[in-house]
């Protein structure tokens, strides 16, 4: 149906692992504990596990969709809704990815402003970042993947650092297990959305993978690594903070880093905040790439021009969000939209696609019978 991507633009299948994992871990993880604990209390880690399971199911759904059409989200939409409606929906998806990039970058700038440079103007990072991301994404999908690979490998050094706060661990906080009802656990799982979403960009880069039918195991493995990482962070936080203390702490993961004291480094969180840049660049780059790719596929415009538009929108919106309340409000919107898009709309698409294929096959049989 669509033109196949040329061989030299494809990337190896195992890189799906980095793409899925790198796109999931971003700024959400800096402070997701508080939102979950507000609903699910000290059973929050179970909520994280539930959300992780759902992610695996959604990835399986996406592969079902993609294998049937052997294309991307746009082909799926065209297949189900036809050209016009499909394009309109894809336009909103494109906006969604820009919003996601805005959310990640603006939250990160906020963290930098609160923790390191209080008088750093928002626009300065926004503008530098715009040039940087144009440079990366204009290099094509392969350069985005390269960045993602680095963005996953370099922060691996953070993992052991997260275990150091266990010096003050008090695991008795978490007992008894399952004190909260299933409904509360599920609502808690919903509140982790912002930290888990991002992997839906698979719907757009799927045609760029080599041996794409066989990449599902890598995608699932990438999601599994995210789940394990999030569960560990959650368990460490629950053991480290008492409930009301955690409810007061906005960026619990960074506050965890605050007690890490190395012989040569008294306060680790300053390194943590700076190194977090490595974690969020793949997020933003891939979201911008997905947005511009989407725009290109629906309008046929040059992807570079689409990228410039996306980046300009991103920079303007970032500058227009000056206070914590607004950033928070925007995050909530993105989380809400992300929740309905990823966890409701994608499974729904599978059903719609099945129906669409049945009807079409029915028509096809009718025509052959005639």
């Amino acid at each position: 149906m669509d033109k196949p991507i040329k061989e030299q633009y494809l990337v190896s299948g195992f890189l799906t692992l980095f793409l899925i994992h790198g796109m999931q871990v971003g700024v959400g993880v800096l402070g997701f504990q508080r939102d979950v604990v507000k609903v699910a209390g000290y059973d929050a880690w179970i909520s994280v596990l539930i959300a992780g399971m759902v992610v695996h199911v959604v990835i399986a759904c996406m592969y079902t969709l993609l294998k049937r059409v052997d294309g991307d989200l746009i082909s799926i939409h065209h297949q189900i809704f036809g050209k016009w409606v499909g394009n309109v929906i894809c336009f909103f998806v494109s906006i969604y990815f820009v919003a996601k990039a805005v959310n990640v970058l603006r939250t990160y700038i906020e963290v930098v402003q609160v923790w390191m440079f209080p008088d750093l103007p928002t626009w300065s990072i926004a503008i530098v970042a715009s040039f940087f991301f144009y440079y990366v994404v204009a290099g094509g999908f392969r350069s985005v993947v390269g960045l993602t690979f680095l963005g996953v490998m370099i922060p691996v050094a953070f993992v052991p650092m997260l275990l150091l706060p266990l010096e003050f661990a008090n695991f008795i906080n978490m007992l008894p297990i399952l004190k909260h009802s299933i409904v509360e656990l599920l609502l808690g799982a919903k509140d982790t959305t912002l930290s888990f979403i991002g992997f839906e960009s698979l719907l757009l880069y799927y045609p760029f993978l080599k041996n794409r039918d066989l990449t599902q195991k890598w995608a699932q493995l990438g999601a599994l690594i995210t789940n394990v990482a999030y569960t560990v962070i959650m368990v460490v936080s629950l053991a480290f903070f008492s409930e009301d203390q955690l409810n007061k702490t906005i960026w619990a993961t960074l506050t965890l880093y605050k007690v890490v004291q190395l012989p040569f480094l008294e306060r680790f969180e300053y390194i943590g905040v700076s190194m977090w840049m490595f974690l969020i660049t793949p997020n933003i780059a891939l979201a911008l790439w997905a947005a511009s790719r989407c725009a290109k596929r629906i309008s046929g415009m040059n992807q570079r021009s689409a990228l410039v538009i996306a980046i300009v929108i991103m920079a303007v919106v970032i500058i227009l969000l000056p206070t914590r309340q607004e950033v928070n409000q925007f995050s909530n919107w993105v989380a809400q939209t992300g929740f309905y898009f990823v966890f409701v709309y994608i499974p729904l698409l599978v059903i719609l696609q099945t129906i669409a294929l049945k009807i079409r096959r029915g028509k096809h049989e009718q025509t052959t019978n005639l």
């Binding site: 209080p118 750093l120 300065s124 040039f131 204009a138 003050f168 008894p176 506050t255």
Partner: protein, 369 residues
């Protein structure tokens, strides 16, 4: 290709130019507060006293001086503004090591002052907190300790040293906040006293909520510590009553571990503490031969009884006073599905009973018989 070169060039220029635009905090152009103390003025205002090192000019590197300034105000950070009025260089809290509160202020509650520090990302979470007996914690910073070290260095190290060698129960800002915001635990802080020419740790200040409640002396602090933390390489002196004479024995390399159990089978909750201690006899001024198993057993027995009796008395004392520095409530919470902090405080805790079992092992008794 050309476009990309221009693009990367622009990024490079930006990063070079923008780095110069932010407020800098160069070490000898700011006043880095090492210790801060909080007092209550008579009119209810906060008096904040800070001590920071000053760096003298060239030629006198060996004499590190410190300056102490104070100001009054309503809030912690508001008072910082007034502090800046008579400071040569801007006051920064990023390197603060110890926060001291006078007992008079602690009786009114310390949460808002500590909260101001927790809110500030520049302040570490491991900093020590302490309560100073009386109503003038500021005077402590100004004291000439006569030991060459500045009070901003001396005080945090004094507290840390006594917590590390396991005589005071360990705490820092994180642990204080952890207990403060925990419905099954009350906070405690080290207590510092000042006399004419010296400053010393005197025990533990117990809190009820964020308000100072009562004092625990140095001896009892050690017993409390056995009930809430593992001890490594501690040292303690015990008195052994033996018929008509009293002898003293010092146990060092004292390692302890504890387990809490809860027996809910009876009408009232029974908490059982199993404390395991091992150590070596370091000093003994009695007449008995330590090489005989019998005497050694006797000493062990006597110390075990002492610890378990005193620890039990302390637990009952805490219960009667309605405070919970050892985290009894936390243990109860971990075994119940319908935890209700109110009910615990008002009905269950006052009726709780305690049992402390101590198992002491003396590993060796030094190099002489």
């Amino acid at each position: 290709m050309n476009k990309r070169l221009i693009c990367s060039f622009v990024v490079l220029i930006y990063t070079l130019l923008l780095t110069g635009c932010l407020e800098t905090s160069i070490v000898d152009e700011v006043s880095m507060v090492r210790a801060a103390s909080f007092d209550l003025e008579e009119d209810g205002k906060l008096k904040l006293t800070v001590s920071f090192p000053t760096f003298p000019d060239k030629g006198q590197e060996q004499t590190l001086e410190q300056r102490i300034i104070e100001a009054t105000g309503e809030t912690t950070k508001g008072t910082k503004i007034s502090l800046n009025k008579n400071a040569q260089k801007p006051i920064l809290f990023g390197q603060v090591r110890v926060l001291l509160f006078s007992q008079a202020l602690a009786e009114q509650g310390v949460e808002k002052y500590i909260d101001a520090m927790y809110r500030d990302p520049a302040v570490g979470n491991r900093i020590s907190l302490g309560i100073v007996e009386g109503n003038d914690a500021g005077a402590l910073l100004d004291k000439d300790l006569g030991i060459g070290d500045l009070s901003g260095v001396f005080l945090p190290e004094l507290i840390e040293q006594n917590q590390d060698t396991s005589t005071l129960p360990p705490t820092n800002m994180h642990q204080f906040l952890f207990s403060l915001y925990n419905d099954g635990r009350d906070a405690y802080l080290p207590l510092i006293i000042q006399s004419d020419d010296k400053v010393s740790v005197a025990g533990t200040a117990l809190f009820s909520g964020d308000k100072f409640h009562s004092k625990l002396n140095f001896e009892d602090s050690f017993f409390m510590k056995l009930l809430l933390d593992t001890t490594r390489q501690g040292i303690h002196e015990f008195a052994i009553e033996d018929q008509e004479q009293t002898s003293y024995v010092v146990i060092e390399k004292l390692n302890s571990d504890f387990k809490r159990k809860l027996d809910k089978s009876r009408d009232v909750p029974l908490f059982i503490f199993d404390v395991k201690i091992d150590g070596a006899i370091e000093d003994y001024d009695g007449q008995m031969n330590l090489d005989e198993t019998k005497t050694l057993n006797k000493i062990q027995q006597s110390i075990e009884n002492q610890i378990s009796n005193r620890a039990q008395e302390l637990l009952i004392q805490f219960r009667n006073e309605g405070i919970d520095p050892v985290g009894i409530g936390e243990k109860y919470r971990s075994t119940t599905r319908n935890w209700n902090a109110e009910q615990w405080r008002n009905e269950l805790y006052p009726s709780a009973e305690f049992e402390v079992n101590v198992d002491l092992k003396i590993i060796q008794s030094g190099a002489v018989e």
